[in-house]
């Protein structure tokens, strides 16, 4: 069984984002990380592979990005992925990223494809489902658990107000969220050493026309300062919520 994990290369969550000319993210000084949900997906993939009872042969990671995405891919290899693929294109919109990944993996016979439910940069939550549609295979969304029972795969997906256990035949895409793994795994020194020798294959771009164009960016308006209410006077807070904010 072969597992593929799709990784987004995103600015660290604590980055103060800036847009030089209002048209694109100013990348100066930005620390890049594996998208947090994708990192959980990779962690689960490693757990599945390491459990000797499971028939998992390999874990491959893939991203769409320029050479500047390679440190993030090396980090994934250090965490334990066997090999990495970088599609050498700037990620523009979810549609073009999904199309690029589909093109790169369609003949590679992956059984399970994992993708995080959202990326912390453009927050679209679309890539995983799009990839499944390009590959014409099933997708299961909001997956918070994935177990292998022999060749059977049992998934837990979140629904409004509950959970469902579902099965689906491979190949499929699982769009995963919190719960899929407890804590993201951190690379150990040995992993970092080994990662240098693991294959990071760069594949050329297939031309894909993005469907959406990010034309400009704005920072939110500064918020008016917080109105402080005395702890002994919560009655006035209730009045403010009723009469000023009108939320009660």
């Amino acid at each position: 069984m072969k597992i593929l994990v799709c990784l987004g290369n995103v600015p660290d969550t604590t980055t103060k984002v800036k847009f030089g000319d209002g048209k694109a993210l100013d990348k100066t000084g930005v620390q890049w990380i594996i998208n947090p949900w994708d990192e959980l997906a990779l962690t689960r993939a490693m757990e599945l592979k390491e459990d000797a009872g499971n028939p998992v042969n390999s874990v491959t990671v893939i991203t769409v990005g320029g050479k500047d995405a390679e440190p993030t891919m090396r980090k994934a290899l250090a965490i334990g992925a066997d090999d990495a693929i970088r599609v050498d294109a700037e990620p523009v919109d979810a549609f073009s990223v999904a199309a690029q990944i589909a093109e790169a993996v369609k003949d590679k016979n992956f059984d399970i494809i994992l993708s995080g439910i959202e990326s912390s940069d453009y927050n679209g939550s679309m890539m995983g489902g799009m990839l499944a549609e390009f590959l014409e295979i099933p997708s299961v969304s909001a997956v918070s658990g994935l177990e292998l029972k022999g060749s059977e795969v049992e998934l837990t997906r979140d629904i409004d107000g509950g959970k469902e256990q579902v099965t689906v035949s491979a190949p499929f895409v699982a769009v995963v969220q919190k719960g899929i793994a407890k804590e993201p795994r951190i690379a150990a020194m040995r992993g970092i050493m080994m990662a240098r020798k693991k294959p990071l294959n760069v594949v050329p771009v297939t031309p894909v026309e993005p469907l959406a164009d990010y034309v400009s960016f704005e920072l939110p308006q500064p918020k008016p300062p917080c109105k402080m209410v005395d702890a002994e006077n919560v009655v006035s807070l209730v009045e403010l919520l009723q009469n000023e904010a009108k939320v009660l």
Binding site: T13, T14, T15, P36, F95, A98, I117, S120, D121, N123, G124, S125, M126, G129, M130, E133, F134, S139, V140, S141, A142, S144, R157, D158, I159, D160, G161, G162, K163, E164, Q165, V166, T167, V168, P210, L211, A212, D213, V215, F217, E218, L219, P220, K223, P224, C226, K227, M228, V229, D230, A231, V234, L237, V238, L240, L241, Q242, A245, V247, L248
Partner: protein, 321 residues
């Protein structure tokens, strides 16, 4: 030509969020000079379907089949794609909830339609078709031009007001080809009798400042009088004080209630990313320098364990007036 809206049901019933979505679709239809066709998948009775007309659906298409008892992303996408073609949809509107994200993504590829995902307001313009969306987990906004003839928009729950209109809707059966589902549901666990975090208009949330899971009674009491859902920060769910379903924040649930009360939550950027769309934020924290006060509209410096019971009493009194 039409605006197509997918109106999901839960055990045959719609929610307030469904009507928000239809109200939104009606406004978009007005902007492009078109009508609203709603698509309902699965068993919903005529009375319930008719309610969609109160919020601006002109035509209601129902698709019923034994194969539609639970969500299969491909089968649902097939149905919506067929309806979109039959209705000549220019814009397809879907909730940005779990089901919505699952089908909108596939539909985008199927119809080669650009997606505006997780919107919180109406499109900025229709020529070119431009939407404004939050990016970088709420740290910025982006204007995005959707370049295709057909567009898919997903709307964040609780971000659009209900607009009632005169009901002139017709209900029709839509004869879609319904495929065999590939996702097989083996078991379901549902919470009952609780207000869902994603549906709630008011949320009372506790952080590490609550000191122990034994102290959650004061959160639940305030939530009770406010008819609110309860939530928590990540350390609280990681410690196992509260279930993971209650974790709000970047990697947990992302919500947009009218009122979010953060008790004993310091306001880490990851937490605020999940709740920054709240219309009003109240922070209660012993540390007057806690970052949560930078995001809050109203703040109290004090011990949540003492402030919350006082607040519960004050709300009770205000409600009795």
């Amino acid at each position: 030509m039409s605006v197509l809206v997918y109106t999901e049901n839960w055990d045959g019933k719609f929610k307030k969020a469904t009507f928000e979505l239809v109200s939104y679709a009606a406004k978009v239809a007005e902007m492009i000079g078109s009508t609203v066709s709603a698509v309902s998948i699965g068993k919903v009775d005529e009375t319930e379907l008719g309610k969609l007309g109160n919020y601006g659906a002109d035509k209601i298409l129902k698709v019923e089949s034994e194969n539609l008892k639970s969500l299969d992303n491909q089968v649902y996408t097939d149905i919506l794609a067929q309806a979109a073609v039959a209705e000549g949809a220019q814009v397809i509107i879907i909730s940005h909830n779990n089901t919505g994200k699952a089908v909108a993504s596939r539909l985008s590829v199927r119809l080669k339609a650009a997606v505006g995902a997780g919107l919180i307001k109406l499109p900025v313009s229709t020529e070119p078709f431009t939407v404004c969306k939050k990016v970088f987990s709420g740290k910025a906004f982006a204007n995005v031009v959707l370049k295709t003839d057909v567009k898919v928009l997903t709307l964040t729950q609780n971000s659009f007001e209900l607009v009632e209109t005169e009901n002139k809707a017709s209900v029709e059966s839509f004869a879609a080809e319904v495929g065999e589902p590939k996702t097989v549901v083996k078991d379901v666990q549902k919470q009952t009798g609780k207000i869902l975090l994603t549906d709630a208009e008011i949320v009372v949330s506790g952080g590490r400042g609550m000191k122990s899971s034994d102290n959650w009674g004061v959160i639940e009491e305030l939530a009770g009088v406010l008819e609110a859902a309860t939530a928590c920060s990540r350390p609280v769910s990681d410690e196992g004080w509260r279930p993971h379903e209650e974790h709000t924040g970047q990697t947990g649930k992302i919500i947009a209630p009218n009122l979010y009360i953060a008790a004993g939550i310091s306001g880490a950027i990851q937490h605020m990313a999940g709740i920054s769309s709240s219309k009003c934020i109240v922070a209660i924290n012993t540390d007057s320098d806690a970052p949560v006060f930078e995001y809050a509209d109203y703040g109290i410096v004090g011990d949540a364990l003492k402030v919350l019971p006082a607040l519960t009493n004050a709300v009770k009194e205000a409600k009795n007036k």
